[in-house]
């Protein structure tokens, strides 16, 4: 036991003394979360819109106030003619221009129909689509308010936008599970595979082998420090998403942490597996990056929905453990479902873990090759 503990201590020293390892362990997770949260944000927040109000009556005032008080948009300068639209959009500050037609109120009440034009900057397609969707949604809301008051039964526009599980349309909801999944593969699989191959490359593995240390002790000694530190990472990410992005965990936090532990263990055992088949650090890095990181990013459903993939990719993704973890974590974090909804995925992860540990124990050489 003492042998094992001194080995673990040695691993911790390696980690804490290597700046690069520390950066990968603690800076990259935080940076990725903030990066995805703020920079690659799919969110609309205080986008500037200008109004060209040709009727300027009570209804248009109400509607434009509603749009600007939503939190998604803020009011830019008011335009007075069509000619001003183009320069306004070109100025790049204004994301959308909303035009109320002449006699808006009168038409709406009299004919039960009035038109709003939304003009967006198509050179920023994501922003443009989002702005239109959000504005349409707000207008729809405005319609139902009107309908509710009984002032008129007619509807202006009826956009078919419905958001499940993410009613406030927060983009972070989508990426937090993905980033956790990705970071755990990065840290656990990549880092453990590197640390074992490093011992091989520097010749220290030779000395370790000619010692009373058993393979189990060496493997576990490598796993334990990274297990603890990765778990700290999960907590950091969850705290960041809670306090920076205001995203609480909807389901049971205990369940989420337990599932994360399982996933960390699975990634670690994959890393060990990689290290038993590679002789150099370069090989280990290559296998981890190409064999695990890329598929995790592309095929696990993190960025591209699995349903939209060609069938063959769907099949490939079925053998990627991250895919199942993403399902689990999305369920627990966002939908707030319990263990009953994710037991199948949990079981699959468990099987992956046991298989990877079993194979690495068998493949771990008690001698040199």
């Amino acid at each position: 036991m003492k042998r094992f503990l001194v080995f673990v201590k040695k691993e911790f020293l390696h980690i804490f003394r290597d700046v690069r390892t520390m950066i990968i362990l603690f800076l990259i997770p935080g940076a990725l979360i903030l990066l995805f949260g703020f920079v690659v944000s799919n969110d609309l927040k205080n986008a500037t819109v200008s109004f060209l109000d040709l009727s300027n009556d009570e209804m248009t005032q109400k509607l434009s106030d509603k749009i600007c008080s939503s939190g998604f948009f803020q009011r830019g300068e008011n335009l007075s003619s069509y000619q001003e639209i183009d320069p306004a959009l070109r100025g790049n500050k204004i994301k959308a221009v909303i035009i109320f037609e002449k006699d808006f109120s009168r038409k709406l009440i009299g004919e039960g129909k009035a038109t709003v034009n939304i003009i967006t900057d198509g050179s920023e397609p994501n922003m443009a689509t989002m702005a239109t969707n959000y504005i349409s949604a707000i207008i729809a809301d405005f319609n139902s308010d009107l309908a509710g008051k009984g002032a008129t039964a007619t509807l202006l526009v009826q956009p078919e936008v419905r958001m499940f599980y993410n009613p406030s349309l927060k983009g972070q909801h989508m990426f937090v599970p993905g980033v956790i999944t990705l970071i755990m593969i990065l840290i656990c699989a990549l880092m453990t595979s590197i640390t074992i191959t490093r011992e091989k490359e520097f010749g220290t593995m030779e000395a370790l082998l000619v010692s009373p240390l058993k393979p189990v002790q060496i493997i576990l000694g490598k796993i334990v420090p990274y297990f603890i530190l990765s778990f700290v990472d999960v907590i950091i990410i969850l705290l960041l998403s809670r306090y920076v992005f205001d995203l609480p965990v909807k389901g049971s936090i205990i369940l989420l942490l337990a599932e994360s532990m399982l996933y960390i263990l699975m990634s670690l055992s994959l890393g060990i597996l990689v290290s038993t088949v590679s002789k150099t650090m370069q090989q280990a890095i290559f296998i981890s990056l190409v064999g695990m990181m890329l598929p995790t990013i592309l095929l696990s459903g993190f960025i591209y929905p699995i349903e939209n993939m060609p069938k063959i990719y769907g099949w490939i993704s079925a053998i990627l453990p991250p895919r199942y973890f993403i399902i689990i974590i999305k369920n627990v974090m966002i939908k707030g479902t319990g263990f009953l909804y994710v037991w199948k995925e949990t079981l699959i992860l468990l099987i992956f873990t046991i298989a990877a540990i079993g194979i690495s124990m068998r493949k771990f050489n008690i001698r040199l090759q």
């Binding site: 003492k2 042998r3 001194v6 080995f7 040695k10 020293l13 390696h14 003394r17 290597d18 520097f202 010749g203 220290t204 030779e206 000395a207 370790l208 082998l209 000619v210 010692s211 009373p212 240390l213 008690i366 001698r367 040199l368």
Partner: protein, 305 residues
């Protein structure tokens, strides 16, 4: 001497694919002696040491160390061997002290317990005990690696080229330390590519191309050299060696420091040699008989095989 054998190797063979690394190796190492393997790079020294330290499996042949089979009893054997691989197996980011403590604990002991054993060696590097091992000089790394290999008081110490890449002063110090270890009755198996270090061993095996050419005490090894050896000096060494090799009565001619070591077919030379050299444009030649060293014996054996 009736000391028991610590290592006993019989008919050991090992190949890597088509390359034969070791062929029909047999030798014994007695308790408490310093046994040296001398041979050039690629002679098979490291492979042999790795088989003895249970790191590699022999293709066939029997290898026992400390009375244990190196294949079957590897686990028990690993408790009692101190091994210093060719690349110093130190953790470069750990300090001197941390490295030593790590190896001590891994081998189930403490630095305190066996401090007297390494005191002599470790005292040289103790002033730097808080320095990362990666920042030590080659000589200090070597001393630390030796301390780490010794800390559990192994009955057998296996050192793979411990002096390669280390300065001359450190090398000399290192051999002194090894000799001091004898009083603890530790058997030492050591390899080196340097011929001059052979004299430091109790017995030496000359190894070349995966075969042991000769095993003996270093003094006796050179006695195996039966020809008369001459040291030949001239101002133009290159011209001299080509000329000598062309001379029909020359048996061998090798550069040896500033001079050439030459043997002749009938163990003697006459004036015809000087005439021959003169005709080749080599002048100012001095020839005198000299005593053969291990290197001469080694080259002779190499030529035969």
């Amino acid at each position: 001497m009736t000391a028991k054998n610590i290592i006993s190797v019989r008919d050991l063979n090992k190949s890597y694919g088509p390359v034969k690394a070791l062929e029909a190796i047999s030798f014994d190492v007695r308790e408490g002696e310093i046994f040296g393997f001398i041979g050039p790079d690629g002679a098979g020294k490291t492979t042999l040491f790795r088989i003895i330290t249970t790191l590699l499996l022999p293709d066939h042949g029997t290898v026992t160390a400390l009375g244990l089979d190196c294949v079957k009893d590897f686990r028990e054997l690993r408790n009692n061997i101190g091994y210093m691989p060719g690349r110093f197996s130190l953790y470069m980011d750990l300090t001197v002290e941390e490295n030593l403590n790590f190896y001590a604990t891994v081998f189930g002991t403490t630095v305190k317990e066996n401090y007297d054993l390494i005191a002599d060696i470790y005292s040289h590097i103790e002033p730097f005990k808080n320095r990362p091992a990666g920042k030590l000089s080659g000589g200090m790394k070597q001393k630390l690696a030796l301390s780490c290999a010794l800390i559990h008081k192994p009955a057998l110490l296996v050192l793979d080229e411990p002096t390669t890449g280390v300065d001359a002063v450190s090398r000399a110090e290192f051999w002194e330390m090894l000799k001091k270890l004898k009083k603890y009755n530790i058997t030492i198996l050591v390899s080196t590519p340097y011929m001059d270090e052979a004299m430091q061993c109790d017995r030496v095996a000359l190894i070349q191309g995966g075969r042991i050419m000769s095993v003996d005490q270093p003094e006796r090894l050179s006695e195996g050299f039966t020809r008369k050896l001459f040291s030949v000096v001239a101002s133009e060494k290159y011209k001299l060696i080509t000329a000598l090799r062309e001379y029909p009565l020359t048996h061998s001619a090798y550069p040896f420091g500033e001079s050439l070591h030459v043997t002749f077919r009938d163990d003697r030379y006459d004036d015809s040699l000087l005439d021959f050299l003169e005709s080749k444009g080599v002048s100012g030649v001095t020839i005198e008989e000299t005593l053969p060293g291990i290197e001469d014996r080694f080259l002779e054996l190499m030529q035969k095989s």
